[in-house]
Symmetry: C2
Subunit: 350 residues, 2 copies
Amino acid sequence: MPQGAQPRDKVTIIEIADAAGVSKSTVSLVLTGRGSVKPETRERILQVMDELGYVYNRGAANLRNTQSKIVGLVLNDLSNPFFAEFAIGVETVLQMAGYVAFMANTAESVVRQSQVMKMMREHGARGIILCPALDTTAEELALASGPDTALLVAIRRLPGVAASSVVPDNVAGSARITRHLLNLGHRRIAYLGGMSSMVVRQDRHQGFSEAMAKAGVAIDPGLNLECMPTRDGGFSAMSSALALPNRPTAVVCYNDVVAIGAMLAAARRGLVVGRDIAIVGFDDTSEARHVSPALTTIAVDAVGLGERAAAMLLERITNRAAPATSHVGPAELVIRESCGAYQHALTAAG
Amino acid sequence: MPQGAQPRDKVTIIEIADAAGVSKSTVSLVLTGRGSVKPETRERILQVMDELGYVYNRGAANLRNTQSKIVGLVLNDLSNPFFAEFAIGVETVLQMAGYVAFMANTAESVVRQSQVMKMMREHGARGIILCPALDTTAEELALASGPDTALLVAIRRLPGVAASSVVPDNVAGSARITRHLLNLGHRRIAYLGGMSSMVVRQDRHQGFSEAMAKAGVAIDPGLNLECMPTRDGGFSAMSSALALPNRPTAVVCYNDVVAIGAMLAAARRGLVVGRDIAIVGFDDTSEARHVSPALTTIAVDAVGLGERAAAMLLERITNRAAPATSHVGPAELVIRESCGAYQHALTAAG
DNA sequence: CTCCCGAAATGGAACGTTCCATTTAATTTA
DNA sequence: TAAATTAAATGGAACGTTCCATTTCGGGAG
């Protein structure tokens, strides 16, 4: 807008109409592009809007419409690159559909989570994609979704919730990477990280157990170690694992962050990861690639999960009769150095 | 809300009033907490709201109010952990002030940037914190901020824009880390990464040049290498730097991401980073700590910048007479291994 | 010249809230 | 007990849009 007369207070459709010498209805027509209005009139109106610095008031419009174009995206931990990538996937799809994402970070606080979801509904969000904070209960979520706000739960499965869901295949992925270690000849394998109250931990540990059982290898209960899913958690849990009289030869970690902490602990003890001990992760965050030695892990395609989540939510929004559905995304093994597969190949060949 | 009667269509304040046997004005009173209403009446109303699944309609309220509680946060690259941390700082402060952040990712697209800023204003955002996409022009921004939407530009300075701004001290930080390399005895120092059209690159390179000049060390123009600020960019730019007949002994990188790419390229050539060559970064992302060898870099406190940005914007929102201000945040040297300072200390002592 | 028709433009009610000006009820004071 | 005061509750206009039902306009057919 040109330097000139800045309007002090909000300029409305009516002022535009007056200035252009038409009725507010005509202005509304060009705004929505619905009726037919003479091209030169349209031009004149658009020009006036530009001059006066008109800003469309969606709140007022929604009042009659009931059809906003906003979707909420609630993330439990934005500082985790995994969720950032997930968010990017979500945004891409929403944007193409003409929707806009209203995104918020709860930092694992269920209180904050309730607040932002309430806010989003109050602003007329048509749907919400939720990556639930730890300790989220089904009851809380009942409040959050209503007849005109579709809910989709992502990444962390939430038992007892009727919403759609998008999660990676934690069980299969964990089984896959465990099998990889078994194939390399490991038998004393530890499972490390996450708290047993977390659903994701339960799923991943289940995959681990199944793979072990199928291979006929007994699990030492002493090698099931819980810790917070942070680097420091991984570090201290690994330290105690290494202090055991009969320590593991391989460690399946809850996720990459824990694995990196565990690698640090092993290095501190003078062990060369990938030679003296195998350590593997889950998620394939960008750090997994850059850490040294590079981490063998399970790739779950965060962006793809985000895209899928957005697409599924949009489907439920546009076709409100559509039933809640669930999607389980693929989890693929990425072999790098931390498992010692390369070393192993050398010795096996030699 | 209990399993019972799910209302098919939106329930309004009037229906609540009818069901509770009061007038809509009274319901409004309890909603806003403004007038005085008998405790038992309030209770009854609240209970009815709960039963019917009432959702407050902020759009309608803002229609009279003109006072929303939303602030827009526009990020140019969410996949960069630096911006994720910045966002966390912003959110923390906004939340405490009772505001909610409406956050969007532009992925460096100025088109998308205009779209989301327009959307935010249309939804009544009181202010916008913008981390501008590359190639953002001052004209575009003039459209984006109006008399009732305060604008704050963050991280990337934008010459010719009248808005408030929050940026780290790129010049001083870059000079600081260059001095560190000079103190270690380096003389052939390259500057690597970023495109010269980027304001941030200009500032950081200026700090580099000033430090070199002050030390009386000439800059070899052949050691000023541009590349996209990505890991791959850093990798290939570093590869060509190493192919030079008289290659540098130290490299100041545009940021951590570029530095990590550069480290990979050096390792690929068989060089031990921190011994055979020094490489340093800028930003102090979490990766800088975990990469091996750990990266010497400049910490700019992304979270702190975010907090500051939010506080400054809120100030302008609540006190609309307040003038636009600028804040330049500290940039501190973090010495780790990639610069070889530790090695250096050993040899110097021995 | 009148009639008719489609195109273009318009007036007004409605959306869900707030808030001012009132009314009604409850309580205190003289 | 009446008057004065305070607390509690209410009706209605207004906010900026949309959209239905109308009206006006501009020509072409009869």
